[in-house]
């Protein structure tokens, strides 16, 4: 009886996931198996370039988001409660604002007649407008802008748990701020740093809107390549191959995250 109710309560969810997620995914994956799709994908230098660009952008974005997010998270955590809640609104607002809007701001800034070029020309740092938009750098800037708030939110949770007395002890023992940061603070933040980094990495690796708007047609990443193969070139099989490769990359990253968090959970508290 008890098992029956549990079964009935779980059934709609299980059916929904199987029919609406696994079935379509199988429909996508199945035709790519056995054919020459994957070897074709990996033999093309163009595709390997796209794969490399995707990973490189994700790595640089994660590193920059961490480098910029950590100081901000530390600073926010050390503010009065009223300032802190105001700042958390400032951090949350972009996360909840449409990605098109957030990427659009960088079109205005980085464009040929954009704000940045006007400043550079005005200061006579350059004679001609610099190409900033539709470059790999533009994708990285847009991605950092998009994912930095998520990094900061992940970090603030860990930073709030920091014991300030440990830092005071380090100061009493003569540690300079930089030493305190690298030897005392960062080791205590491992969980937050890892969660934030993997969220940002997976997000940057699979994002569509940013590379589409800021990278243009010549700087494709895996997600924009899927769209181009399917909609522009009409090669649905090759699009499926790219999709499967992207799934595998995501599963590896997410699996790594589970392993690392499990490892951190098992670690004794004083390690």
């Amino acid at each position: 009886m008890k098992n029956r109710s549990a079964f009935l309560l779980l059934l709609p969810g299980v059916l929904a996931i199987c029919l609406f997620l696994f079935f379509p995914l199988l429909q996508t994956i199945w035709p790519t198996l056995g054919g020459s799709g994957y070897s074709h994908f990996l033999h093309s230098g163009y595709n390997r370039n796209v794969l490399g660009r995707t990973l490189l952008i994700a790595v640089i974005t994660t590193a920059l988001a961490l480098g910029l997010g950590l100081p901000l998270a530390l600073w926010i955590a050390r503010q009065k409660a009223s300032v802190k809640s105001l700042l958390s609104v400032v951090i949350l607002f972009p996360i909840l604002t449409n990605a098109v809007v957030r990427n659009f701001t960088w079109i205005i800034i980085l464009g040929k007649d954009g704000v940045l070029n006007k400043v550079l020309l005005g200061l006579h740092l350059t004679q001609h407008p610099v190409t900033l938009l539709y470059t790999n750098a533009a994708i990285v800037i847009g991605s950092v802008y998009l994912f930095l708030p998520i990094m900061v939110t992940s970090l603030i949770g860990s930073v709030d748990e920091l014991n300030i007395e440990v830092e005071e002890a380090a100061a009493v023992l003569g540690a300079k701020p930089w030493t305190t940061l690298t030897k005392v603070i960062i080791p205590q933040l491992t969980t937050g740093i890892l969660t934030g980094s993997i969220l940002v990495f997976a997000g940057a690796m699979t994002a569509y809107t940013t590379p589409q708007l800021l990278g243009g047609n010549r700087h494709l990443v895996m997600s924009t390549l899927i769209y181009q193969q399917a909609m522009t070139l009409g090669d649905w099989n090759q699009a499926s191959v790219v999709a499967v490769v992207l799934i595998i990359m995501t599963v590896i990253v997410m699996g790594l995250m589970r392993l690392v968090t499990r490892w951190l959970d098992r670690r004794p508290a004083n390690a």
């Binding site: 008890k2 098992n3 109710s5 549990a6 309560l9 779980l10 709609p12 969810g13 299980v14 996931i17 609406f20 997620l21 079935f23 379509p24 995914l25 429909q27 996508t28 910029l68 997010g69 100081p71 530390l74 600073w75 926010i76 050390r78 958390s88 609104v89 400032v90 951090i91 949350l92 607002f93 972009p94 909840l96 604002t97 449409n98 098109v100 809007v101 659009f104 701001t105 205005i108 802008y145 930095l148 939110t153 005071e168 380090a170 701020p177 305190t180 690796m205 699979t206 569509y208 589409q212 899927i226 769209y227 909609m231 649905w236 699009a239 499926s240 999709a243 992207l246 799934i247 995501t250």
Partner: protein
């Protein structure tokens, strides 16, 4: 010790905050310029671009469609998600962790791949209507939020309160509706809000699932942006930011914004 007034810390934080806020403020300003293309700083002052937003049929229809899909997908995720969370937290289900992973599995698949697979597997192969498939895609986006937030509050809630209701003769369903639901209300509202905002803002899932009469607001803006570079996009950006602010105010009044941080 790293103090709040450490000069390096303050400088970096100020620059990063500027980096986060300045672009949004700049977009707001460009929405009021009189030039035919986006310029900053602006010349003159006009509200023409806001009027132009409402003169774009794609934007108006897209807004309605996004609103409908976001509402329907969020409700559907709650209707399917809450019972399964109840089963996983209140019954002794075998392979509980396995089920948990199953219901969070949409988060393991890149959104663009979900949209692509739904188009191929459901629209082309099974001939499911586009609108229904779009709803399914957004439901898949929402379900993990419901599972995560509601599980957290079901685990925190004292089971004995429900058991007390049963002892006093209440049926399991009645106890759930009159005792459990009021106790987990905050997480239900938070889950609904997160689902709604994320569905409303989503692009990758809707990308493959649009047709001549079916366009969501974000994809409509994306299309417009590919052919035009005028302050209409700035104006609709301002409207969307107001929309976000209104949602945040709503959550703040009801639950406090902390509820949304548990993403």
């Amino acid at each position: 010790m790293l103090k709040a007034n450490n000069k390096v810390l303050v400088t970096i934080s100020a620059i990063v905050l500027f980096f986060l806020i300045a672009p949004l403020i700049m977009v707001i300003i460009t929405a009021f310029g009189t030039d035919a293309t986006i310029a900053f700083p602006i010349h003159g002052f006009t509200l023409h671009w806001f009027a132009n937003v409402f003169a774009q049929p794609d934007f108006v229809a897209g807004f309605k469609m996004s609103l409908i899909i976001a509402l329907a997908a969020s409700l559907l995720a709650l209707v399917i998600g809450v019972p399964l969370v109840y089963a996983l937290t209140r019954y002794n289900v075998h392979h509980q962790a396995w089920f948990q992973t199953l219901f969070l599995s949409p988060t393991f698949i890149p959104e663009i791949v979900i949209g692509f697979a739904l188009y191929q597997g459901l629209v082309i192969t099974v001939q499911l209507p586009l609108l229904l498939t779009l709803l399914i895609g957004h439901f898949l986006l929402c379900l993990p939020y419901v599972v995560r937030l509601v599980t957290a509050s079901m685990v925190l809630m004292d089971e004995h309160i429900e058991e007390a209701a049963w002892v006093y003769g209440s049926s399991r369903l009645k106890a759930f509706l009159t005792v459990t639901i009021p106790n987990i209300r905050a997480s239900l509202v938070a889950a609904f809000m997160l689902c709604f905002i994320n569905s409303f803002n989503n692009i990758p899932i809707s990308l493959f699932l649009n047709g001549p009469d079916l366009s969501m607001l974000p994809t409509a803006i994306l299309n417009y942006l590919q052919n035009n570079y005028d302050p209409t996009v700035s104006a609709i950006s301002v409207l969307l930011m107001l929309f976000t602010a209104a949602m945040m105010l709503l959550v703040e009044k009801g639950l406090g914004l902390k509820a949304l941080n548990e993403m």
